[in-house]
């Protein structure tokens, strides 16, 4: 009657080894086609998020810390999040028919993310209900 522990092992193997809840925000300002300001902010959440989270991207990476991952794969992470949703604001001013300044501001408002590190993959899930949009 001794049950083999395979079921237990399979259950633990399927669970994410490391997981965490984070807030992420991003702001970029480009003036006259050149980047003037850029800031990516990541903060660990103090309480566990609840809600409906949907996977938005998955990256192969051996890292188990989101901050390190974001530092090394900043470009990929931003492309994934920008694809999900981005707020755009742009101004352009012409005086006496001459262009004075062109400003584009891209912003990802503070967004709730669940990050799982599982079997060499970093899985990023986003809260679509309260994702800042």
């Amino acid at each position: 009657m001794v049950r083999p522990p395979f079921a237990l092992i399979a259950l633990f193997a399927s669970l994410p080894v490391f997981a965490g809840d984070f807030y992420l925000s991003y702001h970029l300002v480009a003036r006259d086609h050149a980047v003037a300001y850029e800031k990516l902010s990541i903060s660990a959440a103090m309480t566990t998020f609840s809600g409906h989270f949907i996977e938005i991207c998955r990256f192969p990476s051996p890292q188990t810390r989101f901050q390190t991952f974001a530092k090394n794969h900043r470009k990929d992470l931003l492309e994934c999040l920008q694809k999900s949703a981005i707020w755009l604001r742009s101004y352009e001013t012409y005086t006496n028919l001459l262009r004075q300044r062109d400003t584009v501001s891209l912003r990802i408002p503070p967004t709730r993310l669940k990050v799982d590190f599982n079997e060499g993959f970093v899985i990023i899930k986003r809260d679509l209900e309260r994702g800042g949009d």
Binding site: A30, H33, L88, E92, T93, T95
Partner: protein
């Protein structure tokens, strides 16, 4: 023998109906004037069929998809510490420019114009444009870097099945 009174009443009612409900008259003289306009030789581009078909391609319906494609351009700032950083920043700027162009196409541009007149002359004329948008699911199709200019080709697809109901309200 009883058919005659019936026929007489039918005839009388027909005459009355004809008087009270006259058939509409077509004004032939006006139709003749408008029917034959002088048609100058029109070039092929001005044909109404070609314009309609072009508009049909750009119009969103329940069954079609509309693609918005733009090319954003970015240059590297002057104060960079390495060529790699310059290239990365140029790409960011190009992406921002591409998003702005998408915003212009999809959401439109708010324009504000101001003219300052002094001594009956325009001394300052200012035009300010503004775009406010939230853009989702923009795809980067292609990127290229040449002569210090980074170009990003970007596309947004609007599916009629999903968006027609919301946009037509």
């Amino acid at each position: 023998m009883k058919i005659w009174p019936l026929l007489v009443t039918v005839f009388a009612s027909a005459v009355l109906m004809a008087e009270t409900c006259p058939t509409p008259k077509v004004e032939k003289s006006i139709q003749r004037k408008t029917a034959k306009p002088k048609t100058p030789a029109m070039p092929a581009i001005m044909e109404p069929k070609s314009i309609d078909s072009e508009n049909a391609q750009c119009t969103l319906s329940m069954r079609n998809k509309v693609h918005f494609q733009v090319v954003g351009q970015g240059v590297a700032p002057v104060n960079t510490i390495s060529p790699a950083q310059a290239m990365a920043l140029a790409k960011r700027a190009a992406i921002a420019d591409a998003y702005r162009q998408l915003g212009e196409k999809i959401c439109g541009v708010r324009i504000e114009g101001r003219d300052l007149v002094r001594n009956m002359m325009i001394s300052r004329s200012t035009v300010r444009t503004q775009i406010n948008a939230i853009i989702r699911n923009a795809k980067i199709l292609d990127t290229r870097f040449k002569n210090g200019l980074y170009e990003v080709e970007m596309e947004v697809t609007i599916d009629g099945k999903r968006w027609y109901d919301r946009l037509s309200r």
